[in-house]
């Protein structure tokens, strides 16, 4: 970790005094805007946007991890229930968790009563240190995965994000939750467990508003991430999700939207990936050739292209290659 020189610290303080945001913490429902990040002050500029009465999204940048965006590339959320706030995912770092909690306190008088994680990825739970006093829940498979991966997540994000990660240590969930109805205060939720993006992908639906937090199962205007993906299972899950006729969809990555748009994009991409990798492996393509293949429109215009595609190839292509060399069926 780099040390911040005292001089730059002093400048940051002056900057903070001059440019302290006067705007309210909650923006009206409307177009999401990427948060205004202040790298010097390590301020994520988090804003809560109301999607329905008491249902808020805290949008991150639709991009790849970078120091400039604070590595804040996730949409988190929180929902008031009359008996306290349910928090959905806690961001990439201790600082993010703290700033999210402060934002919640500025937005509602209700205390935080529970944190829910939708899958095992680092930006879903590395902010947990700020929520150490409340139950933190995830599925059994997600809890096991977090335990397994936490150390490498910390290492990798420190490398990618630098000072934003100061003081961050993985704090794991404290309780196990499964699919089914969930009631907190006056709110009724439905939790559905799927797989494909990871071994356990939760979807949280608020029954009153119909807002669905779909986690990593749906990506909007962004290349899907695949470190724990099974494309065939994921495509089956998207068919099941399509049958739910969701209204307002909050993906973890990409803009909040109505209906099937993100779902269809995710399906298009996965079908292209699966079909192309099968064909290329059968034709003897090397990974470096796959990496340099030209994607169809509009994937190359989506956020995180090409970095995320580089990861897709690293995560998945070897399976297709193995099947081709053994003359077996594609995975």
């Amino acid at each position: 970790m780099k040390h911040i020189a005292p001089l730059s610290g002093a400048l940051a303080l002056i900057g903070g005094l001059l440019f302290a945001p006067a705007s309210p913490p909650v923006s009206a429902q409307g177009q999401a805007v990427a948060p205004v990040v202040n790298v010097t002050r390590l301020d994520y500029g988090l804003r809560a946007r109301a999607l329905a009465d008491g249902v808020y999204v805290v949008a991150g940048a639709n991009a790849d991890f970078s120091v400039a965006n604070g590595c804040n590339i996730i949409n988190t959320g929180f929902i008031t229930t009359g008996a306290g706030v349910l928090v959905i995912n806690t961001g990439t770092s201790r600082l993010y968790g703290e700033q999210l909690r402060a934002l919640i306190a500025r937005t509602t008088h209700e205390p935080v009563v529970q944190v829910l994680h939708l899958n095992l990825h680092p930006d879903y739970f590395l902010g947990n240190q700020a929520f150490a006093d409340v139950p933190i829940v995830a599925t059994a498979a997600t809890r096991a995965g977090m335990q397994r991966e936490a150390k490498s997540y910390e290492d990798n994000l420190y490398r990618l994000c630098g000072d934003w990660m100061k003081g961050t240590e993985a704090r794991l969930p404290t309780q196990t939750i499964g699919a089914g109805p969930l009631r907190i205060g006056q709110r009724e939720f439905e939790l559905r467990e799927y797989n494909g993006h990871t071994a356990s992908d939760l979807v949280l639906i608020d029954k009153a508003s119909g807002v669905a937090f779909v986690g990593g199962l749906v990506f909007a205007d962004r290349v899907p991430t695949t470190p724990h993906a099974d494309p065939s299972a994921w495509l089956r899950t998207l068919d099941a999700l399509a049958g739910l006729k969701l209204g307002t969809v909050v993906p973890s990555h990409g803009p909040v939207h109505e209906g099937q748009r993100g779902l269809q994009q995710t399906r298009d991409f996965l079908q292209w990936l699966d079909g192309s990798f099968t064909r290329w492996a059968a034709q003897g393509w090397e990974m470096n050739e796959v990496l340099r293949a030209k994607p169809p429109e509009p994937f190359a215009r989506w956020a995180a292209w090409p970095a995320e595609y580089t990861r897709n190839v690293a995560h998945l292509y070897a399976r297709y290659e193995r099947a081709a060399l053994q003359r077996g069926k594609p995975p």
Binding site: D155, Q283, G284, M287, N288, E289, H315, A318, L325
Partner: protein, 267 residues
């Protein structure tokens, strides 16, 4: 001394003009485009002090910009040169720097494989032509690190004992990407060998790796010969290109550093 003198001149407000003081510094990188401090020693250690070496854009090394999986970094090497006798792949900042050495014989002077990267580093290919000159190309791969000091999956779960030395492979003759510059009669051999490829850098697990492979055609003519070292990835996959499909069936013959034989026929 030179630097100090210039610095002093500058501090003295230009009493000595830089033009008079500044003889060119010897280049500590010896022309290395990656400006790697390891390069000079690397060259000496693997090619010898007297080697004639030139950086040459005709030797291409392709890899990903960053190593998403430091235990499996895909590299494709090709040398657009006639008469390549030997092709060596070196990684400056790996604890074990030599990855492989190829004698292309009847194959194209190139190879694709995956390797274990310990930290961000230049990855270099050095091709020696018949006149003895080494032609050097490279690429830079960024990494979060740790590829050489973690046990592979089949070592970690013990399953390597069930699959050691198994070979699967195929010759591909159509549908190769245009970037492979393959003519109509070209062919590519892809072969996968089940082996843990232990680096010896994981606590309590000694180095255990495939050390030599040779590919022979249906008439028992040797098509290529390759020496492989610890950094090659677990269960390695190699690709070799041929200007013209060799007569089959191809045979893969090899050995690991413990003397286990590898022998397989690719139909």
């Amino acid at each position: 001394m030179q630097r100090r003198f210039i610095l002093l001149a500058a501090l003295c407000g230009g009493l000595v003009t830089p033009a008079r003081a500044a003889a060119p510094d010897p280049d500590p990188f010896d022309g290395d485009p990656f400006k790697s401090y390891q390069w000079v020693d690397l060259k000496k250690a693997f090619l010898g002090a007297q080697a004639r070496v030139q950086f040459d854009p005709r030797v291409k090394v392709q890899g990903p910009a960053f190593a998403e999986d430091p235990m499996n970094v895909p590299i494709t090497v090709s040398a657009d040169l006639a008469g390549v006798q030997r092709l060596i792949v070196l990684v400056d900042r790996n604890p074990i720097r030599k990855v492989l050495e190829l004698q292309p014989l009847a194959a194209q002077p190139g190879v694709s494989f995956r390797f274990k990267l310990e930290q961000a580093s230049p990855v270099r290919a050095l091709a020696q032509t018949a006149d003895g000159v080494w032609h050097v190309g490279g690429t830079w791969v960024d990494s979060s690190g740790g590829g050489c000091t973690v046990a592979g999956a089949t070592r970690a779960d013990g399953s390597w004992t069930q699959t050691l030395g198994q070979v699967s492979g195929r010759v591909f003759a159509s549908g190769l990407p245009t970037s492979a510059n393959a003519g109509d009669s070209a062919a590519r051999l892809r072969v996968r060998i089940m082996h843990p490829m232990d680096t010896g850098l994981v606590n309590g697990i000694p180095a255990f790796f495939v050390s030599k492979l040779s590919v022979r055609d249906g008439a028992d003519r040797e098509l290529l010969r390759i020496q492989t070292f610890e950094p090659v990835s677990e269960n390695p996959v190699f690709s070799f290109d041929f200007a013209k499909a060799p007569p089959g069936p191809l045979r893969i013959v090899g050995v690991d550093n413990n003397g286990n034989r590898i022998l397989s026929t690719i139909e």
